[in-house]
Structures are given as C-alpha cells and as structure tokens.
C-alpha cells in the first residue's frame, strides 16, 4: 500500500469519525440548559413531602427550565425535607416566590415549579423560599377520595332494627 493512499484513507476515516461525533453532539444531543459551565446560585426550600423528587430534577418557572435540584436531605429538627435549588444566575426571583413540586403529565417525572411573587427584593444565595407546596402523592389522593365517598353515602348495611 502506497504511503499517500494510506494517509488519504486514514484521513478520510478520522474525518468521518469526527463528523459522526459532531452529528451526535449537535443533531442528536444538546447541552442541557443548566450545564456545568453556567454559574448558579442556590436557595433553600423546605417541604413536608417531596414525593418522588430526585436530585438533578429540573426547576422550572412558567415551563422554562431555570435550574436543577441540588441536594435533598431530611431536616433533623422538624423532619421536613430540605431541598437545595441551583438556579441559573441569569434569572433573579422575588423573595416571595413560591415553590411547588409538580409532575409533568399524569405519570411523568417530578420537578420543582417556581411561581414568582411581587416583592422588589430578589432571592440571594442561601435564602429560603418560604411558601412551598408539597408533592401530591397519588395514594393519599385516592385514599382521601375513598374516604369522602364513604362519608357521603353511608354503607347500605342490612338493617335488622326495622
């Protein structure tokens, strides 16, 4: 095999490989909105129940991803769930913003939804989001529904009293 033909083939091979990599990087995948290169600030939120929320779940406001869930721990004093939210530094939120744990679709993944308030002050690093709404746990919901049904219509029991 001639040296130049060999070099040509190898060049073609490497170019094809790099083209495949570029295709995978740009057409197939995308950088997530909050990647390591973005700077973030973290705020805290406490929930009574976080349901199935996991670290790295998205934090959305008006449906737009603005950050990711950082750490999740149990607060030892009052047994609430402590959730750290890493929010993109590009976005500032008022201090009276509320956080809710929501589910995308009926059975989809859980995420944290932020609803901005009207305060002039904005949340800073390590601030606490005071207004939170817990995750809706489907089993509780069904249990409640059954309980209400039972309360509305008393069970038609056989009545020996009559």
């Amino acid at each position: 095999m001639n040296r130049t033909t060999l070099d040509l083939w190898v060049g073609f091979f490497v170019a094809l490989g790099i083209a495949a990599l570029i295709f995978l990087a740009t057409k197939v995948g995308s950088y997530s909105d909050i990647s390591g290169s973005h700077t973030t600030y973290s705020v805290k939120a406490y929930f009574k129940n976080i349901g199935g929320l996991k670290p790295r779940a998205p934090v959305k406001s008006a449906g737009v991803v603005v950050g990711r869930v950082g750490r999740i721990r149990l607060n030892k004093q009052d047994y609430t769930a402590y959730v750290r939210l890493d929010i993109d530094s590009d976005y500032a939120f008022p201090t009276d913003t509320s956080a809710a744990i929501l589910t995308s679709g009926l059975l989809g993944e859980q995420y944290v939804g932020l609803v901005p308030g009207a305060d002039d002050e904005t949340l800073k690093k390590d601030d606490i989001i005071k207004i939170t709404q817990d995750a809706v746990v489907l089993e509780n919901l069904i249990g409640q529904f059954m309980f209400n049904k039972a309360a509305e219509t008393p069970t038609p029991a056989p009545a020996p009293a009559h």
Partner: protein, 263 residues
C-alpha cells in the same frame, strides 16, 4: 481424600497461574506505555496501524450499525405505540445506541475484526522470530511493533463507536420516519430535548475509549505472549476475542453503574 487434595491443588495452581498472568499483563501494559513516546515520535507507524484497525473495520461497523438501528426502530415503535408514545422513538433509539449498544457492539466487533488481526500479526511475528530479530538489531519490538498497534486501536475505537451510533440513529430514523411514518419533527426534537451531550454522548465516548484501551491491550498482550507455534497463535486469537468480549461486558456494567444511576 486424595481426590479432594488433588482438586484443591488444581484450583490453587490455576489461581496462582491466573494471578501471575494478570501481573505479567499489567507489567506489559506499563512497558507499552513507557515506549509509546518513541512510537509517537514516528507518527507514520501509528497512522499505518490506524489504517489496519480503523479503516478496515469501517465497513463492518457501518453495516452492523445500520442494521442494529433498523431493528431498534422496528422493536422500539412496536413497544412505544402500545403506550401511545411513538413520538418518543427517537429518544429510545438514540439513548440505547449512545449509552450502550454503540460502544458495546462496536467494541465487540472491533475485537473480532481488528483485535484478532493484531494478535495474529504479532503472534506470527513472534513465531517466525521476527520480534527476536528486531530485538537483536537493537530495535525494541515494544516501541516498533506493539505500541503503534496499541495506539492505533485506542484511537480508532471511539471514532468507530461514534460512527456506529450515528449510523444506527440513521437506521432508526429510516424505519421510524420514512417507513412507518412517525413525525419527522417530533422524532428529532424529542430526541434532542432528551439526549444531553455531557451526560449521554460524553459517557458513551468515555465507555468506548475504555473499551478501546482494554481490547487493544488484550490483543497486543495475547499476541506477544502466545506460544510460538501455529497452535499457540490460533489459541491466542481465540483468547483475544473471548477475553475481550467478557471484559467489555463486565466493564460496561461497572461503568454503567457509575454513570447512569437514575439521577
């Protein structure tokens, strides 16, 4: 009693032998790394090996990638449409290829196509005393023969795996969009939204790099260590393919358990 002792002794001998070989292989690996500098100074040697392990594996990788993609498209559509989410076909095809099938199947194909060829070549050079002759000419065979083949394999592997995945996604698109009629826009946009570069694509590349090092290492070691007879070479080739496949699958499990833990 005697039988029991004999079994124990056989087990012990096998263990000692295995550990000894592993240690020898590790020392060989370090020696190859040590002499790699010399072979990098002479790039044409490595480029030549890139041709043999990379370019010559191109056809089998592209064709297999296409077929795996076609099958993924058919099976994926069949399962997803039961849940009314056939739009997610792109996600399924892309993620299974990028994370698992691309690196793993490409590496196993690479081991059987290029790995076995490397073992055979080095083994035959040993059998015909070519390595010894080189050593007697004051040319280190590790630097001149082994290191270029090792690096040729290490460089080709991630490129081949990327081509395999790209070809597979094309195959999945061909079946899903062109043949079955999944919406073209949904296919690509869902895929792009779900596949994260730094998580899925990059981890796949890391996997294929690790597999490339492993397969190339096994291939050059088995060739260099083979018994210098025709039978010895053929056994070494078999060992290259078998050990490579086992190592790839076991390593894949280890890497996956570190990379993708549902977070």
């Amino acid at each position: 009693m005697n039988v029991l002792l004999k079994i124990l002794r056989t087990m012990g001998a096998a263990t000692v032998n295995g550990v000894w070989r592993l240690g020898f292989a590790a020392r060989f690996f370090l020696a190859v790394l040590r002499y790699s500098g010399q072979s990098f100074l002479r790039l044409p040697l490595t480029i030549r090996e890139l041709f043999f392990s990379g370019v010559l594996s191109l056809l089998i990788i592209l064709v297999s990638g296409l077929f795996v993609g076609l099958v993924l498209g058919l099976q994926g559509y069949d399962i997803l449409q039961r849940f009314g989410s056939s739009d997610a076909l792109g996600i399924m095809v892309a993620l299974s290829l990028l994370r698992e099938l691309g690196p793993v199947i490409a590496a196993i194909l690479f081991a059987s196509r290029a790995g076995s060829a490397i073992t055979a070549e080095i083994g035959l050079m040993k059998t015909t005393e070519q390595l010894e002759a080189m050593d007697m000419m004051a040319v280190n065979p590790l630097a001149r023969v082994v290191a270029p083949r090792f690096w040729g394999g290490v460089i080709s592997m991630p490129l081949l795996a990327a081509m395999f995945s790209a070809m597979g996604i094309f195959g999945g698109w061909l079946i899903g969009v062109v043949v079955i009629g999944v919406d073209d826009g949904a296919f690509w946009s869902q895929m792009r939204a779900a596949v994260r570069f730094e998580h899925d694509v990059l981890n796949g590349i890391i996997k294929s790099f690790v597999f490339g090092v492993t397969v190339s290492w096994i291939a050059v070691f088995e060739g260099y260590d083979c018994h210098p007879t025709a039978e010895g070479v053929s056994r070494a080739i078999t060992r290259t393919v078998v050990y490579s496949a086992l190592a790839i699958l076991a390593l894949d499990f280890v890497l996956t358990s570190f990379m993708f833990r549902g977070i």
